[in-house]
């Protein structure tokens, strides 16, 4: 039995001939709540695709218990289905259970119970029978999380699930994910260009920049010295009104787009 849910060793990844990650290493402990942080283009999606087995590594390895599509749950960055597609929230979760199977779905008590349990777990009971396209962004995100969790994966990968959500929705999604990680022992890896909405909840940060990564507890990683070494030039990590602002020296704009979040640092 592997001690880590996932272990990444010296991973090199490229996309359309361009090297995106060069020698990234980190490990995720079972049941931990981990943030994959980096600006747009730093390789978050590329790394997630590699963890899903959709992108072969140029070098290095991915090991651990959470390998293969059965052990992984996934919430993609963008789902733009036809808003008129006749699909209830409940149907979306059912597709997570057996949507990969060929043939017609026969009525199944096990599927119905699992779907109902997942809808309850993400707090989606109230809109379970509504059409997906009629739900708000935050509600849809809960449904996709239930879709990803319904087959009881060991590792849940979420690609920028908080982008384009309002503050109450973000707080709701983060607390649902945190509770699921704690209660069911699922390891959660959530990517975000902004660390602020997550930082109070994270057990671990994997910070991507310049093709490399540093990982550790948030208070170990989110420091001027550590990030300066990663970026290769001086970075200030400022605490302003309880928010983290990460700025390269000599620039007026922070690295993470500064949206008005109210998450407090511990």
């Amino acid at each position: 039995m592997d001690q880590d849910a996932l272990r990444v060793d010296g991973l090199f990844l490229s996309r359309s001939g361009r090297t995106v990650l060069s020698g990234v290493s980190f490990a995720l402990a079972p049941g931990s709540f981990c943030g994959l942080i980096g600006v747009n283009g730093s390789g978050k999606t590329t790394l997630i695709r590699a963890l899903l087995g959709l992108l072969p590594a140029d070098a290095g390895g991915i090991e651990g218990a959470a390998r293969g599509h059965r052990a992984l749950g996934y919430v993609p960055q963008k789902i733009d289905a036809d808003p008129y597609m006749p699909l209830r929230a409940r149907d979306v979760v059912a597709l997570g259970f057996d949507g990969h199977r060929y043939g017609l779905p026969l009525p199944s008590r096990r599927r119905r119970d699992r779907v109902a349990a997942m809808l309850a777990a993400v707090g989606a009971d109230a809109f379970a029978d509504r059409r997906l396209g009629d739900l708000s962004g935050g509600q849809q995100q809960r449904i996709f999380i239930a879709h990803a969790l319904v087959r009881e994966p060991q590792l849940l990968l979420l690609d920028e699930p908080l982008a384009n959500l309002d503050m109450p929705s973000i707080a709701g999604i983060v607390s649902v994910l945190k509770r699921i990680a704690r209660e069911s022992g699922v390891t959660v890896l959530i990517s975000s260009h902004d660390v602020n909405p997550l930082v109070g909840a994270l057990d671990r940060v994997i910070y991507l920049a310049g093709g490399g990564a540093v990982s550790g507890r948030p208070d170990e990683v989110l420091r001027s010295g550590v990030l300066s070494r990663l970026y290769g030039h001086h970075i200030d990590v400022l605490r302003v009104h309880g928010r983290l602002v990460i700025v390269p020296a000599g620039e007026t704009h922070p690295i993470a787009p500064d949206e008005p979040h109210v998450e407090r640092l511990e």
């Binding site: 899903l52 087995g53 959709l54 599509h69 992984l72 996934y74 993609p76 789902i79 289905a81 036809d82 008129y84 597609m85 006749p86 699909l87 209830r88 149907d91 979306v92 597709l95 057996d98 949507g99 990969h100 199977r101 060929y102 043939g103 017609l104 779905p105 029978d129 509504r130 059409r131 879709h147």
Partner: protein, 266 residues
């Protein structure tokens, strides 16, 4: 209207309606309506060539529709690739035009190619349609859940280890198959309407995918049955009524959805 010489017409059009209603549901929710428009019209030179050579049209229509399906699958069926679809469509129309100009049967034949000829369907034709429809129904039943999942999100399908590209290609080939069954009956310009009209209404009338698919088949059946009755009683060309009904169904669907939205909001 149920005279002996009409029986084959009833059977053949009913079979075609079942297949078109099923496939049409996925055509609409996948946003592949333009591809479904281009495939039948792109197969039009096949029908013209068969006419010119004096052979049964099925094989040549199937060849052209299949070629179109492969081409579209390689370039992608969705919006960014509409240019390729449109160019295919226009070049095939040009080829058909060239072939028709070599024919001496002119207007009658051209009319039948574009708007269908349902009276005088032979026993062999009925058998061919039945075989094509049987293959279509079985393929749709097998692919039902993978198609729903990959329609919702190609990323989710890929993460569930489904061969997403192959499924998309297979689906376009099924559209080509239904096209080749329907084309000689309702005509190249009308197949699209039979495939898309009932389905576009059905998806607005219910929130459940299975019900929407069933409803799409029922609306397609009612369309061809009324078209056939009118063709017999009033000597209308069958294609005319099928074509108009497609748009009417869409309007009915919008009204039903608008009304149910008002009811839900109170």
């Amino acid at each position: 209207m149920f005279a002996d010489y009409m029986i084959n017409a009833w059977i053949a059009t009913s079979l075609v309606a079942v297949a078109a209603g099923m496939v049409g549901f996925f055509v609409v929710v996948r946003g592949a309506a333009f591809a479904a428009h281009a495939l039948p019209l792109g197969a039009f030179p096949g029908l013209a060539a068969a006419w010119l050579l004096g052979i049964a049209p099925w094989s040549l229509i199937l060849a052209f529709a299949g070629l179109g399906a492969f081409g579209l699958a390689r370039s992608g069926e969705k919006a960014p690739h509409h240019t390729a679809t449109a160019l295919w469509l226009v070049s095939m129309l040009a080829l058909g035009n060239l072939l028709l100009s070599r024919m001496h049967a002119y207007s009658n034949a051209v009319f039948a190619v574009l708007f269908g000829e349902v009276l005088g369907v032979s026993n062999t034709q009925v058998l061919a349609v039945a075989a094509i429809v049987a293959v279509t129904v079985i393929a749709m039943a097998l692919l039902y859940r993978p198609l729903l999942l990959s329609t919702l999100s190609p990323d989710l399908a890929a993460a569930a280890a489904l061969p997403e590209r192959r499924i998309a290609t297979l689906f376009l080939l099924i559209v080509a198959l239904v096209t080749s069954a329907a084309l000689p009956l309702v005509g190249a310009s009308i197949v699209f309407s039979l495939m898309v009209g009932p389905a576009s209404a059905a998806r607005l009338m219910t929130d459940r995918p299975g019900w929407a698919l069933g409803l799409s088949v029922l609306l397609a059946l009612s369309t061809v049955w009324s078209a056939l009755a009118l063709a017999y009683e009033a000597d209308w060309p069958i294609g005319a009524f099928v074509g108009v009904m497609g748009a009417v169904w869409y309007g009915v669907g919008r009204i039903v959805r608008w009304q149910s939205g008002r009811l839900r909001r109170g």
